[in-house]
């Protein structure tokens, strides 16, 4: 029998730290806010490869908005952004708690990543179509979806727009141009490209935006999306949310060791922006840039949002098994809510007292919404929709064999 080689020539990527070790982010270069150039939206992607490697940052240490990406964002929009981000955070905390109490079968938080979706939603128009992953609840909240409806989905109750068919957080909201979330990773990014091709075909100026995680960029679907977006110059924004982790696998396992995720775009001839995902103003500005480019038919953009998944992957996960717990507090790019709050305070448009008040209001709002949502039922206690509804929507009309199966089930 051969002996097992102790050493191997095979390269296996390993993260900078594991449980019991000091978190180590020394590999991460954080360029100064304001240092990245801002080209015209019609730029030839070949002229801006460095934007795929740097980090577009607007907010500096003194909480000022600096550099060419500091746009003239109305203060009211900034305050709305803050309110929405806070709503997402409080909503996540509450829903997670309810999962722990057995009210929800499952939950996924987006803590620390609120700016990625909220700023994007505010930079886009209501006619623009979202193809999110499961961690973009901020898109719904920033488009003012009813919290009661969101919770009703998570409870699979009688008011659930997904009719009890999906696990919690797999929202669907056609009225808000928010596509039905799939549990299968990556599948929807090329669909976003197709939707954008459809908009161009129909001579509309709508833009599609899709989101995938760093881990998901390894799926073939990600590469389908980049190829088709490039070939047809589709008006689409493809967002990679690099929150450093894919369950227990750090971003190096997805190929982040040797190139940034934004740099993936360069080989496809796409303009690619790498953005500080915890900087609301930077995410807003990059999205606005990409949207303008798409609307004037200068083509698609790939955006990497550099951020950190502060909490567990999901309610089924225990990150203390695979990363130092103190990593989150040492993340060099701070917290998106704190940073926007401090910016507004710096502008003289906000105060700690107002923030505390807003927080209390938000907690109250979420509490009231949940009380109402629960009145429409919970997964365990009902009321739910009638079980015979599970045979609907497999096809437009139930086929004869499904009608028979339904009758058989109801006989039981």
């Amino acid at each position: 029998m051969e002996t097992v080689p102790e050493q191997t020539r095979l390269h296996i990527p390993i993260p900078s730290s594991r449980p019991g070790e000091q978190p180590d982010f020394s590999d991460i270069e954080v360029p100064n806010a304001g240092s990245a150039e801002r080209p015209d939206e019609g730029v030839d992607p070949r002229e801006i490869p460095e934007l795929a490697s740097t980090l577009i940052r607007v907010l500096n240490k003194k909480h000022e908005a600096v550099g060419p990406w500091a746009m003239d964002i109305p203060v009211d929009t900034l305050r709305r952004g803050l309110r929405y981000m806070l709503t997402v955070r409080v909503y996540d905390d509450r829903m997670f708690q309810l999962q722990r109490q057995g009210k929800l079968s499952f939950y996924m938080k987006s803590t620390g990543e609120e700016a990625v979706s909220v700023a994007a939603a505010l930079a886009l128009r209501s006619g623009d179509m979202f193809f999110p992953s499961y961690r973009q609840q901020g898109l719904l909240i920033a488009r003012d979806r009813s919290l009661v409806d969101m919770m009703s989905h998570c409870l699979s109750n009688s008011r659930d727009s997904a009719k009890g068919r999906q696990m919690p957080v797999m929202y669907t909201w056609k009225e808000g141009n928010f596509f039905s979330i799939s549990g299968n990773l990556g599948t929807q990014l090329p669909q976003a490209v197709g939707w954008a091709m459809g908009a161009a075909y129909k001579n509309q100026d709508h833009v599609a935006a899709g989101w995938v995680g760093d881990g998901t960029t390894a799926e073939g679907d990600f590469h389908y999306a980049l190829t088709f977006a490039s070939v047809y110059q589709a008006p689409v924004i493809m967002n990679v949310v690099n929150n450093q982790w894919a369950i227990s696998s750090y971003q190096g396992v997805a190929g982040g060791e040797h190139a940034t995720f934004a740099e993936r775009g360069l080989g496809y001839g796409l303009p690619a922006l790498r953005v500080d995902g915890n900087d609301f103003l930077a995410v807003y500005a990059a999205t606005q840039w990409a949207a303008k480019r798409a609307r004037q038919l200068d083509g698609p953009t790939l955006i990497e949002h550099f951020t950190y998944r502060v909490e567990a992957h999901s309610s089924s996960d225990d990150p203390s098994q695979y990363r130092p717990l103190s990593e989150a507090s040492e993340w060099p790019l701070g917290d998106p809510i704190e940073r926007l709050k401090n910016h507004l305070i710096n502008l003289g448009e906000w105060s700690e007292e107002q923030h505390q008040e807003l927080y209390q209001e938000t907690v109250e709002k979420i509490r009231a919404a949940y009380a109402e949502a629960e009145s429409y039922g919970t997964l365990t206690d009902g009321p739910r929709l009638s079980r015979s509804t599970m045979f609907e929507d497999v096809y437009k009309e139930p086929l004869p064999h499904l009608q028979r199966q339904r009758a058989q089930m109801l006989e039981d």
Partner: protein, 337 residues
């Protein structure tokens, strides 16, 4: 002997395979340092080395493709697909490549992969964490498809699968990982500790692929099933006091037709039970083969109890999951009582 749940039994099988054959390795999403989302590979990386149990990019097609290449290079890869529901991006590599490699190369090339994946529902996983896609694989010639229903079989069959030079799709009913399940979600969970099938030898042994097991002898009717449904069917027959013989197929391809035929010739009545959807499910193949071999012995039409032909609905999981009651009703129909 040790007491093991199914996760520990699978872990033990892989541990032994890694120890015995330096060309064996494990790859899949989150299987390395973390030890898998269901913990099936826990501790194996630390014990056997970084390069023998490692995390892959999230790319099921890529995982199976590189495993085929490694197999051709003389290695014996064990692939974990995190959920059977996520195997579809790998279907081209499994169907067009892995399954036909030996055939299309005139026997020159092959890749001895074992592709493990948790399957089945009953865990509130909704449509993307509950599927039973065995029928997709049994339809593909060149693949073996097996599905154990207890820790003892899981370990013995996994060792057989790994040592097999043909590719094996190894389905693991996740509802059985921690204990047997009789189909009643309101009962407290039972662990494998109380079951004789949770008694698992610590050393190497095999359970051959292609041998069914009669888990409950009986004379009135034959229930042909596999996976989680073995336990549900057994409990159903016991509770209804019906003298049904319960056969756990364990392996779908190759199929132990002899054990089936022998039983059906004795009972003359058959109920086929699986959790997967009905139309073109493996139950259709079983019904066809049983009537081909036993037509003149059948006293009643063959009954099928299956998942409905809908995606697995989150809130209506227990209306979807084939219940003891549905099995008993089918038994009564076939018995004419």
């Amino acid at each position: 002997m040790a007491t093991m749940n199914m996760i520990q039994a699978l872990n033990s099988a892989m541990d032994i395979a890694l120890r015995r054959d330096p060309n064996t390795l494990i790859l899949g999403e989150d299987v390395g340092y973390f030890g898998g989302v269901f913990r099936c590979t826990a501790g194996l990386q630390e014990k056997h080395g970084l390069h023998r149990v490692f995390d892959t990019p999230i790319s099921e097609g890529g995982i199976v493709a590189v495993a085929i290449g490694m197999g051709v290079a003389g290695l014996r890869p064990i692939v974990e697909i995190q959920f059977a529901d996520y195997v579809y991006p790998a279907v081209d590599q499994l169907v067009s490549e892995l399954a036909r490699l030996r055939y299309r190369s005139g026997g020159e090339y092959w890749a001895p992969l074992t592709v493990r994946m948790p399957c089945g529902g009953g865990i509130r996983g909704g449509q993307t964490h509950s599927q039973s896609p065995e029928g997709i694989f049994t339809h593909v010639c060149g693949l073996k498809t097996v599905i154990p229903s207890n820790p003892y079989d899981a370990k013995g069959m996994l060792i057989s699968a790994i040592e097999d030079d043909d590719p094996v799709i190894f389905l693991e009913p996740k509802r059985l990982y921690n204990g047997p399940f009789d189909g009643d979600p309101n009962k407290p969970a039972v662990s494998w500790e109380k079951s004789p099938q949770g008694e698992v030898p610590e050393e190497h042994y095999t359970v051959p692929l292609g041998k069914a097991e009669i888990v409950r002898p009986g004379l009135a009717a034959t229930v042909v099933t596999y996976g989680t449904m073995v336990h549900v069917a057994k409990a159903a027959a016991e509770h209804a006091n019906i003298d049904a013989e319960i056969i756990d197929l364990r392996s779908l391809v190759p199929l132990d037709i002899d054990t089936l035929v022998e039983s059906v010739k004795r009972t003359g009545r058959v109920v086929v039970v699986h959790e997967a959807t009905r139309t073109s499910g493996f139950g259709a193949e079983l019904s066809a083969q049983i009537q081909e071999h036993c037509f003149w012995h059948l006293e009643a039409p063959i009954e099928r109890v299956t998942g409905w032909d809908t995606p697995y609905p989150h809130a209506f999981e227990w209306d979807y999951f084939p219940s003891q009651k549905r099995i008993v009703d089918a038994l009564k129909r076939t018995l004419g009582v």
